[in-house]
């Protein structure tokens, strides 16, 4: 289902359909997070990605009025798609080879997160909280400043230039 949504993102010609396929993929990834005991990240994934970011995408699509189906048949650059496909298959082959050959070391490395997790369902959240606000508290602060800068920058970017007459009056 995750892959179906991902393929939908790149194959649907209508941007709105692509955004909805993206929602499918993001929810699928959230389910996979839950399956691996990353409950907090699954919640954040649903709220931030499937909620905020996709809504933002749809909002911009509607705002710009580009929700018409794109002409996906014509190929502006010759041989771009075959080349992209070949490159994609090649990269996947490299990645898959790396993953499969390194499987042994990955599996043998550790015995999983602390087994208290089974007894205590909140252990994941507690561990993440200790990590974020303990070891990485400086990065946390920097990230909050980054968000602030992004908001201010976007407001500046998209603000319409005020007319001079209005200002002088």
């Amino acid at each position: 289902m995750v892959l179906l949504g991902a393929l939908g993102v790149i194959l649907r010609s209508n941007p709105v359909h692509a955004a909805l396929s993206l929602v499918l993929t993001l929810f699928g990834v959230a389910v996979l997070f839950v399956a691996q005991d990353a409950h907090f990240l699954a919640a954040v994934q649903v709220i931030v990605y499937a909620g905020a970011i996709v809504v933002l995408f749809l909002f911009v699509i509607m705002l710009l009025g580009v929700d018409k189906a794109e002409d996906i048949k014509t190929e502006p650059l010759t041989a771009q798609r075959p080349l992209a496909l070949v490159l994609g298959v090649g990269v996947f082959a490299v990645l898959a080879t790396a993953i499969i050959t390194s499987t042994d070391s990955v599996v043998r490395r550790g015995e999983g997160l602390t087994p208290t997790e089974v007894a205590d369902p909140d252990a994941n959240i507690r561990q993440i909280a200790r990590s974020i606000f303990g070891d990485y508290v400086f990065a946390f602060e920097v990230v909050s400043i980054l968000l602030l800068v992004a908001v201010v920058g976007t407001v500046l970017l998209t603000r319409r230039q005020r007319r001079v007459e209005v200002v002088s009056k």
């Binding site: 790149i10 990269v91 990955v106």
Partner: protein, 105 residues
């Protein structure tokens, strides 16, 4: 049956590699900047998935913390990117990345 088998870390990593490649091909073949942005989100999600599947293997929560920061930075990046797209595409009827070529000077 694949669905009945217990998914291992290798399967998660292969799935995330496949997601990443799909996003990469999408960036290369699509011409709508919004859809290209969605493909970038796909690639970020693929990497997040691989982080989360590897975190329990090394008995360390740092992978999940990294995913948290990646999500925050991705949100900021989407906000700025969409702002740029809006300011470029305002007043244009259709949007493809090729139109932006006239920016060079």
């Amino acid at each position: 049956m694949i669905a009945a088998a217990e998914p291992t870390t290798t399967w998660y990593l292969l799935l995330s590699a496949l997601l990443f490649v799909i996003g990469m091909v999408g960036v290369m073949i699509r011409r709508n900047p919004l859809v290209m942005f969605m493909c970038i989100e796909l690639m970020l999600n693929a990497v997040n998935l691989s982080f989360v599947s590897l975190a329990p293997r090394v008995a360390n929560i740092d992978g999940q913390t990294a995913v948290f920061f990646v999500m925050v930075v991705a949100a900021a990046e989407v906000v700025v990117g969409l702002g740029i797209i809006v300011s470029i595409m305002r007043g244009r009827t259709h949007a493809t990345v090729d139109d932006v070529a006239e920016l060079k000077g």
